[in-house]
């Protein structure tokens, strides 16, 4: 078990910079997710930690020791690849035992440890089969068993669930988290799926175009996005231009042309000191659509009319027009959804808002 530290890490491929000046501290035993759209440099980061790529600049430390010059086979890491990378010519047991052969584990002990790993991933009876004879989800578990049987210092997972179908993915998500907690290994998980990241991580590192946008707990990145990118990448957000009319100890007073005065909690409006303009961020789930004329206690409301109704069973997604701006709302359905063209009110509680600097 070890911490992982990236200091000013840069990776260039010829003249293209895939990773810019990344600084990151992953504490011992943490489950940290690198989240971002495809091509933002997540895999590149992971491969540098793994030792499959050399950083162009910067230092990588594992357990406090610089590993830039340590070859991959000496780093003692468990890696689960996106396509599993199981050895097709070896049985499941041989696959899982592979890493033990290079670790001076007595022969007599190998079978027992392989079996323990297979038990842990809940596939105790497949040792003699070949990987091709297993389903995708089972191959996934074997890849995990192979990575953890060596008791790695760090577990690296590159989009391990993306090849599974939706149901299985959710099961594996829970399963993976259970196993990680059980063995307590420091884990770096790469995904482009925000719900995976939110569900599994102790901390989320949101990346965009080779840079870190924000590091925080799932609640932090979700509720207090540090940038417009984070706000729109994690779920749907409404982002409105606003004027700053005043700031005091616990509130930032914003003035928005559609809704008027909005007092945003200062905790959710960092980095606004001295500015005169800001962006008001409101999650689609926090924008309530209520009937025209209905009371909206404690809320700020504006008249709106429904443009599009995207019915999803338990919830419904509305696109409503407020003034000349289209806003998105995701609401639980009470009785029946509002109809297209219906005049309604769009309302929200000011404490659900966050604010970002203008630029």
């Amino acid at each position: 078990m070890s911490s992982v530290t990236l200091q000013n890490v840069v990776k260039r491929f010829h003249r293209f910079t895939a990773v810019h000046e990344v600084n990151l501290e992953i504490p011992d035993g943490a489950f940290v997710t690198l989240l971002g759209p495809s091509g933002c440099g997540k895999t590149t980061n992971l491969r540098m930690i793994a030792g499959l790529l050399d950083p162009t600049e910067g230092e990588i430390l594992i357990g406090g020791k610089r590993v830039n010059d340590v070859p991959i086979h000496k780093r003692n890491l468990g890696i689960v690849f996106q396509n599993y990378a199981l050895f097709p010519h070896k049985t499941v047991a041989e696959n899982v035992a592979f890493g033990l052969k290079y670790r001076d584990v007595p022969k007599a002990e190998i079978a027992g440890r392989v079996q323990k790993a297979l038990d842990l991933v809940q596939l105790p009876d497949v040792g003699t089969r070949y990987p091709k004879a297993l389903s995708g989800g089972q191959q996934q578990r074997i890849a995990l068993a192979r990575a953890i049987v060596i008791e790695p210092d760090v577990l690296l997972l590159d989009e391990p669930l993306s090849a599974l179908d939706a149901n299985l993915r959710e099961d594996m998500r829970v399963e993976l988290k259970r196993i990680q907690e059980q063995i307590g290994v420091t884990t770096v998980f790469v995904t482009h799926d925000q719900s995976e990241a939110l569900a599994m991580s102790d901390r989320i590192v949101v990346m965009s175009a080779g840079r870190i946008e924000q590091v925080g707990t799932p609640e932090e990145v979700y509720n207090t996005p540090a940038s417009e990118f984070v706000a729109s990448f994690l779920g749907a957000s409404n982002i409105l231009p606003a004027r700053i009319t005043g700031q005091d100890a616990d509130t930032v007073h914003l003035e928005d042309p559609l809704f008027g005065a909005v007092p945003v909690p200062a905790a959710k409006a960092p980095a606004l000191a001295g500015a005169s303009r800001a962006k008001l961020v409101l999650r689609a789930e926090k924008l309530q659509i209520v009937a025209a004329g209905a009371p909206t206690p404690g809320m700020i409301a504006a008249p709106a009319f429904v443009e599009t109704v995207d019915y999803q069973g338990q919830t419904v997604r509305y696109f409503v027009r407020v003034g000349n701006t289209q806003m998105q709302a995701i609401n639980m359905i009470d009785e029946r959804p509002y109809a297209q063209g219906e005049a309604v009110q769009a309302a929200f509680r000011p404490k659900d808002c966050a604010a970002l600097p203008e630029s």
Binding site: A85, F87, P88
Partner: protein
């Protein structure tokens, strides 16, 4: 016609041009050769139709033919081994190279644009008494008289390797291309060095290609007559040279037919043994 019946017929319709061509150009002539091998060449030089076993008796009982057959198999085996040892690293290099793979493959194909006979003859200009190598050595003062480097077993193998190496490289290349490179990464991450990862993962997975390349080199090498004719000495005749001799020089078609069928059967049996013990099916099993 039902859809299923049509679907069942479709493969045959699509195969028919190829099957017709192969049938007409391969099996019909082969049938002629089988028939010919039972005819008899009379003292006057005419062929006598009938069912005579004389040619077969001569081909199977004369130790001369047996020795040359064994020599042929030996040369083919050495050639295959040399091709494997030289070809595998080259194929690995091409398969793992980025960007310029297409150019490397084109270079590999380039020799096929020049006639095999001309490529074989080119060694005379290189190794011959007044060839490039002798001239260079004399010019350097290392030797004073030109050396006879041509017309021996080594030059025959050299010519065959020159001819067959691209086949080996292509076959190994194709199988290496089919191997996921992250398998080696996975092996490395589990503690294997690059070399151990190669031995444990890449090499076993590429064996089908190596075996296919080996079979091709062996069969083509064992059936050749041009290379020993051009680059071999009087004692380096291979089995196909005997067939050539019988048919072209002596105009003895019946004996030539029997000899060529004999080589065909021997190679056919070897292919079958190979398929049985080393065959694709066996090797592919693990790959699903």
């Amino acid at each position: 016609m039902s859809i299923e019946a049509r679907e069942r017929r479709q493969p045959w319709i699509l195969l028919s041009p190829a099957l017709t061509t192969i049938g007409l150009l391969l099996f019909v002539p082969l049938l002629f050769i089988v028939v010919y091998s039972f005819w008899l060449r009379t003292a006057t030089g005419a062929d006598q139709a009938g069912f005579y076993l004389d040619n077969w008796r001569e081909a199977l009982s004369d130790p001369f033919y047996r020795d040359i057959l064994l020599f042929t198999l030996k040369i083919a085996a050495i050639t295959t081994l040399v091709c494997a040892v030289m070809g595998y690293p080259a194929a690995y290099f091409i398969a793992r190279s980025r960007g310029n793979k297409a150019i490397l493959l084109l270079l590999l194909m380039l020799p096929f644009w020049i006639s095999y006979i001309i490529r074989t003859m080119s060694w005379i200009n290189i190794l011959g008494v007044s060839g490039a190598l002798n001239s260079l050595l004399i010019w350097l003062g290392i030797i004073s008289e030109p050396m006879q480097m041509l017309y021996n077993q080594t030059t025959v193998i050299l010519g065959l390797v020159h001819f067959l190496l691209p086949f080996m490289i292509l076959n190994v290349f194709v199988s290496l291309e089919g191997i996921d490179v992250t398998l080696e990464d996975a092996a490395n991450s589990l503690g294997a060095t690059k070399w151990e990862a190669f031995l444990q993962v890449t090499l076993p997975l590429s064996l089908p290609g190596l075996a296919a390349g080996g079979l091709l080199c062996f069969v083509l090498g064992a059936g050749t007559y041009i290379t020993p004719l051009v680059l071999g000495g009087p004692t380096d005749a291979m089995f196909a040279n005997l067939v050539y001799e019988a048919i072209i020089t002596q105009l003895n078609w019946p004996l030539g037919s029997a000899l060529s069928l004999m080589l065909l059967v021997v190679l056919g049996v070897l292919v079958m043994i190979y398929n049985r013990y080393l065959g694709m099916a066996q090797l592919m099993k693990g790959l699903g």
